[in-house]
């Protein structure tokens, strides 16, 4: 009944509105109501499963709350944040995470672009290539992390059995080597996804432009940097945004390969250690909320500063 009342007040402000218009707007109104009704379960579920826990995490982060001493629980304001932000561990972990993120996303962009170009120019065997690059994507991250760990471990690894590589090379015992293995694992696992996003962007570059440039005497390298890259910029930025946010929350690979040892602890591993191992929910929640804020800042940087638009992903273009 509400639907009938609202248009009446509307026609009051616009008295010349034709009856036909009004019928249309009634229809639009019922369509809108149906739309919201259909979206409601999904929207409400998403709000409950993310909104509520993050709000609760924020509330916990303002408490002194250690499960080993639950009686000492009290409101301490922002002091947990002060503890985290003044600790060298936090900043060291932010730095480690940044190295892993930049290292893997950069390599993925280069390799993913190469892979996308190979697939774009496919002469035959498009199917096998597509199927095989989906394999790393589909494999459980923990499994991939174990595979690479055993491959680089001198006790079992075939890498040490290869020529030119010393038999006792143990990359997972020092920082540089550990970071290298973690980045290799991440790159192997997620380059396919990057390649597929780039391939979709590559399909939008018109062939005529390449033909025209060819006639004007541009070589393949010039055509790539002057035509393909600029036209693919939106697709590249979206791929970078998705992968950067994903890489910044890295947890599985680090947990399996080093558990954060050798100076490879990521911010998510730090959060895990404080929350689950030390059961210090107050301090750990402060770490959680800070990671959340970092992720928002990264997204903000991509969208506002670099002008990344996800409109294509929303199907609006």
């Amino acid at each position: 009944m509400e639907a009938a009342n609202v248009p009446a007040t509307r026609t009051g402000s616009a008295p010349v509105e034709k009856p036909e218009r009004k019928r249309m707007s009634d229809r639009a109104r019922s369509e809108r109501r149906l739309a919201w009704l259909l979206c409601a379960p999904a929207v409400i579920t998403m709000l409950i499963v993310t909104g509520y826990p993050i709000a609760y995490a924020f509330w916990l982060s303002l408490q002194k709350y250690d499960l080993r001493f639950p009686d000492e629980k009290e409101f301490v304001g922002l002091s947990n944040y002060k503890d985290v932000l003044t600790s060298s561990t936090w900043w060291q972990d932010v730095w480690n995470t940044t190295i892993i993120t930049i290292g893997s996303v950069t390599l993925e962009l280069v390799l993913g672009m190469a892979l996308a170009l190979v697939m774009h120019r496919a002469i035959f065997g498009r199917g096998p290539v597509r199927a095989s690059i989906l394999i790393p994507y589909g494999i459980v991250t923990v499994v991939a992390a174990f595979g690479f760990r055993y491959a680089f471990d001198p006790a079992s690894g075939f890498i040490q059995g290869l020529p030119l590589i010393p038999d006792d090379w143990a990359p997972l015992t020092d920082r540089g080597g550990s970071l290298l293995v973690i980045i290799i694992t991440e790159v192997w696992k997620t380059t396919p996804f990057m390649a597929l996003l780039l391939l979709a962007g590559l399909a939008l570059v018109p062939d005529e432009l390449h033909e025209a440039a060819k006639v004007d005497g541009a070589n393949a390298v010039q055509r790539f940097f002057r035509i393909t890259l600029p036209l693919m910029k939106p697709a590249i930025l979206v791929a970078l945004l998705f992968r950067t946010l994903d890489a910044f929350r890295i947890f599985d690979t680090v947990f399996i390969q080093t558990t954060g040892a050798n100076g490879t602890e990521s911010v998510s591993i730090l959060g895990y250690n404080v929350l689950i191992n030390r059961v210090n929910l107050g301090l750990g929640s402060a770490v959680s909320v800070l990671i959340f804020i970092f992720v928002i800042l990264i997204a903000f940087f991509f969208v506002k500063v670099l002008g990344t638009s996800t409109a294509q992903q929303r199907g609006e273009v």
Partner: protein, 276 residues
């Protein structure tokens, strides 16, 4: 268009490199899983002797079998729930006209980018209070944080491609709305729904952080978390062979799905991005 031999050679090399890139790590784990215990340290890529002992080991204990059942059940139920909820939303988003479409899609995208570590502490504390810690629903609920946005995205992209006019056409031809829906729309939508379900299932199957933090026993512990805490004969011995065998067992279904449905999976993964 004819190709020069040089182009064909270059492409063949590209093809080979891509195949090796994808397959070497998988082959390596397979090789480890087939090595007898005494040869695990031989640094060979191809095992000298083959043995199925590692597979016998993992299937002789209840730990791995429980984990497998938990993984299939939890990922399966999470997929089912999120596909049903997302299909309703995606129908509205792709077919009905209403303000708030952009808000919902952007919101879903934001939720998809959400760092799981930010909520595990809260969930850990709440779940212990309400009795959801170490239970199936205790994992299915947080899985909605990533399965729902993914399902909404892929399904809206697929639904946009459906020629909905056919529904009216069928009704004009005398079909009831229900017949038009069941005989025309369902067959058109089914492949998209199925693909979205595969993608969502792969994501849920892959989860480690929630399974690691919100479970403690084989009551709800899924395969990835079980692998991380697998112990061999002694506490300090890494059961490389058993972990590798278990890894292969959970990888094979994914590889089969990927091989059968690769074309549609690619379409789902790049959903929306292809639109010009």
């Amino acid at each position: 268009m004819t190709r020069t031999p040089r182009e064909i050679a270059a492409w063949s090399i590209g093809l080979l490199v891509v195949l090796l890139y994808a397959m070497i790590p998988v082959m390596w784990i397979l090789s480890l899983s087939l090595k007898p215990a005494t040869e695990l340290g031989d640094k060979r890529f191809i095992p000298k002797d083959f043995s199925l002992d590692n597979y016998d080991t993992i299937f002789s204990t209840s730990e791995f079998k429980h984990a497998l059942v938990n993984s299939i059940g939890i990922a399966g139920i999470a997929t089912l729930i999120s596909i049903v909820l997302a299909a309703m939303a995606a129908y509205a988003l792709s077919r009905l006209d209403f303000a708030g479409k952009t808000v919902i899609l952007s919101g879903a995208l934001a939720v998809a980018m959400f760092p799981p570590i930010s909520i595990v502490g809260s969930l850990f504390n709440i779940w212990r209070d309400v009795g959801l810690y170490d239970t199936w629903p205790g994992l299915i609920i947080p899985y909605m944080t990533f399965t729902l946005p993914l399902a909404i995205y892929t399904l809206s992209a697929f639904f946009r491609e459906i020629p909905w006019e056919l529904e009216q056409a069928a009704q004009v031809d005398g079909a009831t709305p229900w017949q038009a829906f069941r005989k025309v729309i369902v067959p058109l939508a089914a492949p998209g729904v199925f693909t979205a379900a595969i993608l969502v299932f792969i994501f849920a199957w892959n989860d480690f952080i929630f399974a690691n933090t919100l479970t403690s026993t084989d009551n709800a512990r899924t395969v990835p978390a079980t692998l991380a805490f697998f112990t061999g004969g002694s506490q300090f011995e890494q059961p490389i062979g058993a972990i590798s065998a278990a890894s292969i067992v959970v990888t094979i279904p994914i590889i089969i799905m990927v091989l059968f449905f690769q074309r549609r999976i690619v379409a789902g993964l790049t959903a929306g991005a292809v639109k010009g």
